[in-house]
Symmetry: C2
Subunit: 415 residues, 2 copies
């Protein structure tokens, strides 16, 4: 057995314990929260090694900031774990049920996934967030973070494992892969005897590698090439306000927009208003010929690639389209199926857009930035699914569960 297979086997054993742990899971979560606060100094000490290594390796300031832990951030992590403890138990919920003609009483109930793998990148706070959600959902978890945060992650995992052990839980409920080689990531993706599901959290490169290599069921998350379409009937000020919010309130996240499509009959009036708003944060516009005809030479000509990529920056592609149908075609071609919004006052256009766009979240007259577990009222989220199987959009505790049928009889046999 490899080290990872041993970890998988132990996690599977721990999952049997967790399957029926019930409300005791909250004791474990509160123990974790307390232990994170009590051991903040040790975690910060480990984190400072990661920060030194990161500086030596030339990490950017923004990456170093994501990596950094301080007292306040650790209190935030503990608070996040307490919030998960306070959520209702997602396990044991009867989804549906009926009595069959032969008298069998059938019900479909939520049950834990079993063992969940999470592959993530630089932020060490994901270690406690993800572990807390999986534990509350009754599953063991195997975490594999980025190498930049390995010392922080080890310290956090050790604190969590010791905390749950003190309240009678197997340490193997939470596993951390300490080998941060590419090979260990690939091995984790193929651990099909032990993993029930793998959730990658990170950029397009990580997601692609998981889709290429995984032999376990995967929930893809997070890649968002999001669009706003400004219909001919749009309120132009509303359009400008929503576009400004969706592009600039946090450009690096997946629910920020990358392309604005504008109906040709409103382009001449709308584009200057939209541009004036975007100029407040110096957003670079890359536009089609018709966009440039309205806004002038200051707009960089858009290439095909500009419509296909996530800029994750203060850059926006803009295209004038002939019709709503053209907008739908453009979105069908380029969208990653995350979030799209139409700005319109036309009832039929709104319905046609919500019917015709095949994305996790489809908006009318609102910013795409709302696609988020907290904003949707789902509680803490483990990620945003951009695939169609099992879960789509923000995934909270309910999306971390499976289900089974329980059928109670008194001797029924099948004819």
């Amino acid at each position: 057995m490899t080290q990872l297979e041993t970890m998988g086997a132990n996690a599977k054993q721990a999952a049997r314990f967790l399957m029926n742990a019930g409300a005791k899971k909250n004791d474990a979560l509160l123990a974790i929260a307390d232990a994170l606060v009590e051991n903040a100094q040790a975690i910060i000490a480990a984190n400072s090694i990661d920060l030194e290594n990161g500086k030596a390796a030339g990490l950017s300031d923004s990456l170093l900031d994501r990596l950094r832990l301080d007292g306040g951030r650790i209190l935030g992590m503990a608070d996040g774990v307490r919030q998960v403890a306070a959520q209702p138990d997602p396990i044991g919920r009867v989804i549906e049920g009926r009595t069959l003609k032969n008298g069998l009483r059938m019900e479909k109930v939520t049950v834990p996934m079993g063992v969940i793998g999470i592959i993530f990148e630089a932020r060490p706070n994901v270690t406690s967030d993800a572990a807390a959600l999986c534990l509350k959902a009754g599953s063991a978890v195997i975490l594999r973070g980025g190498k930049e945060a390995i010392n922080s992650n080890k310290a956090i995992a050790e604190v969590m494992c010791s905390a749950i052990e003190r309240v009678g839980f197997p340490r193997a409920c939470i596993g951390l892969v300490t080998d941060t080689s590419r090979q260990s990531a690939t091995e984790l993706m193929q651990l099909s005897d032990y993993l029930d599901v793998l959730i990658p959290r990170g950029g397009a490169g990580l997601i692609k590698s998981v889709v290429e290599n995984a032999k376990v069921p995967v929930i893809e998350t997070g890649v968002g090439n999001c669009h706003i379409y400004v219909d001919e009937s749009a309120d132009i000020d509303m359009a400008a306000s929503i576009i400004f919010n969706a592009k600039t309130s946090r450009p690096s996240v997946c629910n920020a927009i990358e392309t604005v499509l504008v109906h040709q009959s409103i382009a001449e009036k709308a584009l200057p208003v939209i541009k004036a708003e975007l100029d407040k944060k110096n957003v670079e516009i890359r536009g089609c010929e018709r966009t440039r005809a309205v806004l002038g030479e200051c707009v960089i000509p858009a290439t095909e690639n500009d419509y296909a990529v996530e800029f994750l920056d203060y850059i926006l592609a803009v295209k004038v389209v002939d019709s709503l149908d053209d907008a739908l075609d453009h979105i069908a071609k380029y969208s990653t199926g995350h979030s799209e919004s139409i700005i319109t006052n036309d009832y039929n256009a709104a319905n046609k857009f919500t019917d015709g766009v095949d994305s996790a979240a489809v908006y009318v007259n609102a910013s795409t930035r709302f696609t988020d577990g907290g904003e949707f009222g789902l509680g803490a989220e483990i990620g945003i699914s951009t695939q169609k199987l099992h879960a789509r959009g923000p995934m909270g505790l309910n999306e971390l569960t499976s289900m089974k049928f329980i059928i109670r009889g008194n001797g029924q046999i099948r004819a």
Copy 2:
């Protein structure tokens, strides 16, 4: 583009049409049903070529029987399609919804998967069954049947495509892969730009190949190493009757049992009664030492492998266990997570079993043979999922759908 990529691109285009086809989908389904009956002779003629080829290739009588189509079976296929048409539309159902504090009105609605791939083996009737379910669920389908049935499948697909075309549907709603090489199967499993989900229907070998090779989301189906546990408090006659039904009513299917576990305190009384029942159909028993001590030398010694395999035949492994906990351990080790049943009169034992067994269907005092979409009242089924993601147990129309969030606002932006 390869031939299969072209088929994928066409299916994706057809899926956009199907996404909003609404009740017109029933017109297409009824056209298919009528066309199958009208073209029965042509289908039977194509089938006779498959049967001749099959005989020449030395297929077994039971395989030839599964392959054979006649007037009655084609009427059955048409009837199956009409039953799918009569089911409620699974698309556009509002699963949940609420108004958020900021006034956003959010709802989660069922939507089509998009493009569904189905890989299946010898039975040509799956071609119309699967196409009908996918079409009703608003998805385009790419079918790949076994090479033994290729002429039958081509004839059935041609009849279906022409029928839907006559009522205004794109032919590409239903695609058949006519290249039956192993390579084309692998290519289909990796068609990630076009397939939203792949459902393999077949034996353990096919499922394993899909898990090894697929780069698209997969729903595993059908492998069933199912157990019945006879508790110390069991009604012995009920146990014998249920075991006889679960083993012998159709030994070749996935919900038939392969192993019986018997509590040691009831073994001496129960085993002879169970054996007497199984003797009526000459079931071969492979038992542990304690089973042989009760039943004698006529019982073949069970090997480790006998507990691990699906016999799919009149063979049953039997093991005497010390306790319910031992039974749970055995099931956790060997079960494929399909269906398991406890025979008991003990309230706590029943609850411990339904809580502790992690399978798609867990029974108390009933035969495992009920794990079936029709028996569960879900309508026609596309397969029985033995994985934990998206769907578990019998999958009907609802399990062939995805969902999306629709959010309606009046200018909301995120703070």
